[in-house]
């Protein structure tokens, strides 16, 4: 046991003498998570709304067209809306294409006058075909605005032409009639004010429990994103570290160790344990970065330690088996890399497993990535032992089977002199 500990310690020390490969392996998941955080919010919980870029062609000279065209001046909309004005449709379409705006909104000539006259009017929304989400939001926004204007028109109840006259500066002489009109409109607005400004019924959108940050109750997409890319990074780390075994095989240092009072199993177990030590360190580092940089809370410590331990075992066993099957480092890199990427893709490392096509979900369950990030995602969602014990058991079995199979295959090769 003491010999084994000495072997492992020296090997780990040697590995850390050149940490470049380890750092590169850890950089991949961190870059992926970092990009997601930059795009969708610093720590995955800020629910950033992208700015809606619109081009408006306002051909109406009345008050409603002006209000719609200058909606950006509303303090609530100022940070979410960016409006560029164009004089006519052609110019608007050019701006839409060149500026990459979400949509072009056309307010037709005499829009206000026709509306006040009680006529039906139309707003036109031309969506940018080179975008998929924001144009639909723009359309929905205009539809909501149209509904409010329709309600406003209903509120006037035939008084529109009189108001239009007032806007044009006519009819102010009859002050009694003006006062009566204002009073009548005031009463109508009062009737709707308590109901609609703001709407009396509000909608609160809630996530399912699993998608909430356990600490803050806020949705945090990093809960599924970070464990997925973290497991991918750990598997790459295990592969890179295990590759060292073949390098030692090529330069003959492994065979030379057999001249010492050491058995093949002892040498190989020491190598595997030292790989697992590096993977364990990488796990701790990634867990800490996940916590502090991306706001992922990992739940109670004991289940987390158990899940981490079996993940390390499974990742190490996977790498041991891969490198027991290949002849050269290059083959190991290629074969191992392909397997890791396939398992990450099919196991749901890049998106929530629920959205994977249903026919693929069975295949997904056969990958160790599925169980690994499943355990971490459950813990990050506030789960404890009861949630992760199944995943921990499956990973322990996978880890033991892979490690023992890898060890037996490596031992055979070592004794045959091919390692």
């Amino acid at each position: 046991m003491r010999t084994l500990a000495t072997l492992v310690l020296k090997d780990v020390r040697r590995r850390f003498a050149d940490p470049a490969a380890l750092l590169l392996n850890l950089a991949i998941p961190l870059v992926m998570a970092g990009m997601m955080a930059l795009a969708f919010g610093g720590r995955g919980d800020s629910q950033k709304t992208p700015v809606l870029h619109l081009v408006v062609v306002n051909q109406d000279e009345g008050p409603i067209g002006r209000a719609l065209g200058n909606a950006q001046q509303n303090p609530e909309a100022a940070n979410r809306l960016d409006i560029k004005q164009a004089k006519e449709r052609g110019e608007g379409l050019t701006l839409l294409r060149e500026e990459g705006a979400a949509a072009l909104v056309l307010i037709p000539k005499d829009f206000s006058a026709d509306l006040l006259d009680g006529k039906d009017v139309e707003l036109e929304v031309v969506k940018n075909p080179a975008a998929s989400i924001m144009p639909v939001i723009a359309q929905q926004g205009v539809e909501v605005a149209a509904l409010y204007i329709s309600i406003g028109a209903r509120l006037l109840d035939g008084r529109g032409p009189r108001i239009a006259e007032l806007f044009e500066g006519r009819g102010w002489d009859d002050t009694v009639a003006v006062a009566a009109l204002v009073t009548e409109l005031y009463q109508r607005v009062q009737g709707i004010d308590a109901l609609l400004i703001p709407p009396l019924v509000e909608v609160k959108t809630g996530e399912q429990e699993a998608a909430k940050d356990a600490d803050k109750g806020r949705p945090n997409f990093m809960i599924w994103m970070f464990p997925g890319v973290m497991i991918m990074g750990l598997l790459f780390t295990a592969n890179t570290q295990m590759r060292d075994l073949l390098r030692e095989g090529e330069i003959g240092t492994l065979r030379r160790q057999l001249a010492a009072p050491l058995g093949a199993v002892q040498v190989l177990v020491a190598k595997i344990v030292s790989v697992s030590a590096v993977v364990a360190l990488a796990t701790v580092l990634l867990l800490l970065i996940g916590r502090w940089a991306f706001g992922v809370t990992w739940g109670p410590i004991l289940p987390l330690a158990a899940a981490s331990a079996v993940i390390v075992l499974a990742a190490t066993g996977f790498a041991a088996l891969v490198f027991s099957l290949v002849r050269t480092e290059r083959q190991g890199d290629a074969f191992g890399g392909v397997l890791v990427m396939l398992m990450s893709l099919l196991g749901g490392s890049f998106f929530p497993p629920q959205v994977i096509p249903s026919w693929m979900q069975g295949i997904s369950r056969m990958t160790l990535t599925y169980w690994s990030h499943g355990a971490l995602r459950d813990l990050a969602s506030g789960g404890g032992w009861d949630k992760v014990q199944g995943e921990v058991a499956v990973l322990a079995i996978i880890g033991l089977v892979l490690t023992l199979t890898g060890l037996v295959a490596l031992r055979r090769r070592h004794l045959r002199g091919t390692l």
Binding site: P50, E124, A130, R154, L200, E202, I356
Partner: protein
């Protein structure tokens, strides 16, 4: 002719590597399929379950208004069982809903989304729910307000009847750009570092090839690999995913041709810069991931903050994606992709010149 021999040799070496078969031929299909199928656009009618805690006139009217908003509504009556296979979104109309409105008290409707609900659909549901509520409340003060009697209508259309970048129309162009860069900046670069380190480049210099021919041959070798990959994407796009690549084969050829040359130059630069093959491929993958994310290959650039979208244009990925959207979504021609092509050419030229300068020392 000698140049072509060098190019062919590079292409042969890359394709001989079995893992390159995976990265060039298999991975693109898998990635495009997976990412394309999970980001497909929301169906026209959004499924919504309405749980009524208490039967009321206003509750029933809200359900009718929701139906008119193009929801596929499933109503769970008071005390009724909630179906196991419920739609991904559910809204609860609380007990005392009508009374609260009559007394002008605030009421909150809980819109719950299940784990299969996509954000796009939820946003559409929120907006439609808001419209139905506004119609209901306005109706309380002004009498029923059916949509057919609205004074203001909205006519909406796409600027051109073409393909919007969602589903495969986002995942295929995005993965094309990313995988071509992966192959040139990891495999291509790694191979070049190995040749440099082992002195193969210096040995080539003793052949009747000029220094310029060696460098051009190496660049074309990477371009050949990238071209094979682009060809694979175009073919699977047409044959497997039925992608309409637009109306301008000339524009597409110019854009992708220049992107291939840019990717090759970047592979050459990476291969001449790094000291080991491991560092070249390791840093290569990290750089490609950053460029792909910022360039709009992973998600539509429209959904990220403005500053990040603008930052993306510091990389060739954003220009390549912009050009592809011009051709595929706007149905543009060669003239419409001149700017992206020009910028890609500048990127390629810059990387190529820098790589040549560095590599001249190694030959």
């Amino acid at each position: 002719m000698r140049l072509l021999t060098l190019t062919r040799q590079d292409l042969r070496l890359t394709l001989r590597d079995r893992s390159s078969i995976f990265w060039i031929f298999i991975a693109p299909v898998l990635w495009v399929y997976m990412f394309g199928s999970i980001t497909r656009s929301t169906p026209t009618r959004i499924g919504l379950q309405v749980v009524e805690e208490e039967s009321s006139v206003l509750g029933d009217r809200l359900v009718e208004l929701l139906r008119a908003e193009n929801f596929e509504v499933t109503v769970v009556p008071p005390g009724g069982p909630v179906p196991k296979e419920a739609p991904p979104r559910s809204v609860t109309i609380p007990a005392g809903f009508s009374d609260a409105i009559a007394a002008r008290r605030k009421v909150t409707l809980d819109l719950e989304q299940g784990d299969k609900a996509n954000p796009e659909g939820t946003l559409a549901a929120e907006v439609a729910l808001h419209r139905a509520i506004v119609r209901l409340l306005a109706g309380e003060a002004l009498g029923p307000m059916p949509a057919a009697e609205d004074k203001v209508r909205v006519r909406s259309s796409w600027a051109v009847e073409h393909r919007i970048p969602t589903g495969y129309y986002q995942s295929l162009p995005g993965n094309l750009v990313m995988f071509v860069l992966i192959s040139t900046m990891t495999y291509g670069a790694g191979l070049l570092v190995t040749e440099r380190k082992k002195g193969i480049l210096r040995r080539l210099a003793t052949s009747p090839l000029t220094r310029g021919e060696i460098l051009a041959g190496k660049a074309l070798g990477r371009a050949a690999v990238a071209s094979v990959q682009v060809g694979v994407f175009l073919i699977i796009g047409l044959g497997v995913f039925r992608i309409d690549w637009g109306h301008s084969p000339l524009g597409l050829a110019a854009l992708l041709g220049l992107f291939v040359l840019t990717a090759a130059s970047m592979g050459l630069l990476s291969g001449s810069w790094f000291k080991s093959a491991e560092a070249a491929s390791g840093m290569g993958i990290v750089l490609v991931l950053v460029m792909s994310a910022l360039g709009g290959c992973w998600w539509p650039a429209e959904v990220v903050p403005d500053w990040l979208r603008l930052a993306g244009f510091a990389f060739p990925t954003a220009w390549a994606m912009r050009g592809l959207h011009e051709l595929i979504s706007w149905g543009g021609g060669l003239r419409d992709v001149l700017v992206p092509c020009g910028v890609l050419a500048l990127f390629g030229l810059g990387a190529g010149l820098l790589a040549t300068r560095l590599l001249r020392r190694a030959i």
